[in-house]
């Protein structure tokens, strides 16, 4: 039983309100990622769930219990911190068992649970070592193990992979995903890394300035961003944005770079403002003559970025740089003139004023 429910929670530091009236529901067994740039309030929210920060308003429920006033230890959580936070003067075994020893658990149960967590994370050969004698990846595995030992209903991760190098980050990411499949516990995971968010999450909550901008599955977030902030934040290279206007009552989009037929586009709401922005993912842009229904642009290649498996091509279209993601075998060179096209049904339209999806 590990559903987490955040109800109208506000957190303030002095005069600054980091979160105000935020609500979020995480289902039992779900993997939710809180994603956002630094300072967006995602870590504050996590610390509020953990009970390390007091909320100034609202309630926090974990596993059907109101834990708003409960101590961190009484919330049924395990937490993994960015800087590992291992107790430096204890061995790995001491770190893993500390919480249970404090709670006065019998020695044989402590030993059993430590052995189980150590087994899951391949820590057995390290049990007698001190944290200083471990590599970064090993330290973070111990930190995860320390959370696992507790048999918590909910696991909280505060940017656990940020201090690791790229290769280790990928390895541990896979391990965390496997752990979630094995344990089936609820996990709330804070990160600023969109790849971690997209790969790990059942649902992603994208936050900006203390507000959840969109809370949906990775595919939905990627393909149907709820507003311009989400569209800009997710995806690399970033989504191409064309400023323009809706014409013919919303049947056509016209911009200095070209126009698009919107008959296949699914509008989210009824409102059709005059000024709008069309966003197109680089991989949805193709080169060559446009098929029927596609919008066409003409441009001159300015930069080619080979990335091994794929190539990103930057074209200058009427003064606007447009990125195109192609496979690795493209022969385009800077200076080439070419026609680009995309399917408007795969694009996203945003209100130019509010940024909301249309």
């Amino acid at each position: 039983m590990g559903a987490v429910s955040i109800r109208d929670v506000s957190v303030g530091f002095g005069a600054v309100n980091v979160l105000s009236g935020l609500s979020l529901d995480v289902a039992d067994g779900e993997f939710v990622v809180l994603l956002g740039a630094s300072g967006c309030g995602k870590s504050t929210l996590l610390n509020a769930i953990a009970g390390l920060i007091e909320v100034s308003a609202g309630q926090i429920w974990i596993g059907g219990r109101n834990v708003t006033w409960a101590e961190p230890k009484d919330r049924g959580i395990g937490m993994v911190f960015q800087s590992y936070s291992l107790y430096p003067r204890m061995t790995v075994e001491g770190n893993l068992s500390f919480g249970m020893r404090i709670a006065g658990k019998p020695a044989d149960e402590v030993a059993k649970r430590v052995a189980r967590a150590a087994g899951m994370l391949h820590l057995e050969p390290l049990l007698a070592r001190r944290p200083a004698e471990l590599s970064g990846g090993q330290r973070q595995r111990v930190a995860i193990g320390r959370a696992l030992v507790k048999d918590a209903d909910v696991f909280l991760f505060d940017e656990p992979l940020s201090n690791l190098d790229a290769k280790l980050r990928n390895e541990l990411r896979v391990e965390i995903k496997k752990l979630h499949l094995e344990l089936g516990s609820t996990m709330v995971y804070v990160t600023h890394d969109q790849v971690e968010a997209l790969t790990l999450a059942d649902r992603i909550a994208i936050m900006d300035r203390g507000v959840i901008q969109q809370f949906a599955g990775p595919r939905e977030i990627y393909r149907r961003p709820a507003n311009r902030f989400v569209a800009d934040f997710i995806g690399s290279p970033a989504m191409n944005m064309f400023d323009g206007a809706l014409e013919d009552g919303g049947r056509r989009f016209a911009s200095p770079q070209g126009s698009a037929d919107l008959s296949a586009y699914e509008f989210a709401g009824a409102a059709r403002p005059a000024r709008a922005t069309m966003g197109v993912r680089p991989e949805h842009v193709a080169i060559g003559p446009a098929p029927a229904g596609h919008a066409a642009l003409s441009g001159k290649v300015s930069i080619v970025e080979p990335m091994g498996g794929e190539t990103v091509l930057w074209a200058d279209c009427a003064g606007k740089p447009v990125s195109v993601k192609l496979d690795g075998e493209t022969k385009a060179k800077p200076g080439d003139d070419m026609t680009l096209h995309f399917d408007p049904a795969e694009a996203s339209l945003f209100d130019a004023a509010s940024g909301a999806r249309l």
Binding site: N47, A50, P72, M79, F81, P88, G99, R146
Partner: protein, 295 residues
Amino acid sequence: MSAAAEPAGPRPRRLTLSRVGVYVFLVGASAFFLLPLWAMVLTSLKPMSEIQQGDLFQLPHTPTFAAWSRAWSHACTGLACNGISVGFANSVKILVPSVVASIALGALTGYALAFYRVRGGNLVFAILLVGAFIPYQVFIYPLVRIFAWIGIYGTLTGIVVIHSIFGLPFMTLLFRNYYSSLPRELFNAARVDGAGFLGILRHVILPMSTPIVIVAVILQVTGIWNDFILGLTFAGLANQPMTVQLNNVVATTQGTVEYDVDMAATILTAALPLAVYLVSGRWFVRGIAAGAVKG
């Protein structure tokens, strides 16, 4: 120009005029501070007949440790003539519990101030620091009255309590600043693990405190050993520390002034803090910096 002008390898070091000036100043300053000690050691090793000839820096013709043993076990402090060893024993009796108590207290308050955002905590800390700057003399009379009323005036307990109280502001500052530099996440991790106020201090924070405890021990040992006025006022006649007894030795004169014994007694009294400075200079400087730089 020759080929040697081409820079390669380590840059050659030249003795410049300013460098020479610095060395001259350092040697001069060292001599200034070491000469009194030198004169004291020489005098303590001379028999009185040589001292009376006057030449302070003359090496002793017939060096003798007689003055040292007299100072240690026979010199007169007032009416009793048991030497300064009595004071040494008293000082140790005062020192050990005072150092332990003041450091334990300072670690506790510093930990509380650094990790628990207690409402009004910073105000209490500010008041504590202001208190540290008020001269001792202001407190003495009221404290004497209070201690007499409680019944611990002139006892070992009384002087230990006094040293703990007067050590509190700086010990708190020292530990608070050190603990503020420890990662807060460690404290949070221990909270999630279920450790309480004292549990976190005992199992997580104190095991990481070795460097700052060493600094605190050095500061408190030298400070409490060198104390004169508190010992004189609060310790009572039976517990007078070595510094007070030294004063009595020097002030007690029957016939000629025994310079050799006075010097030996002084060196004996200063020996412990001197040894602490010499052995732990590096830590001592760190302690000063910890107190001064990080506010």
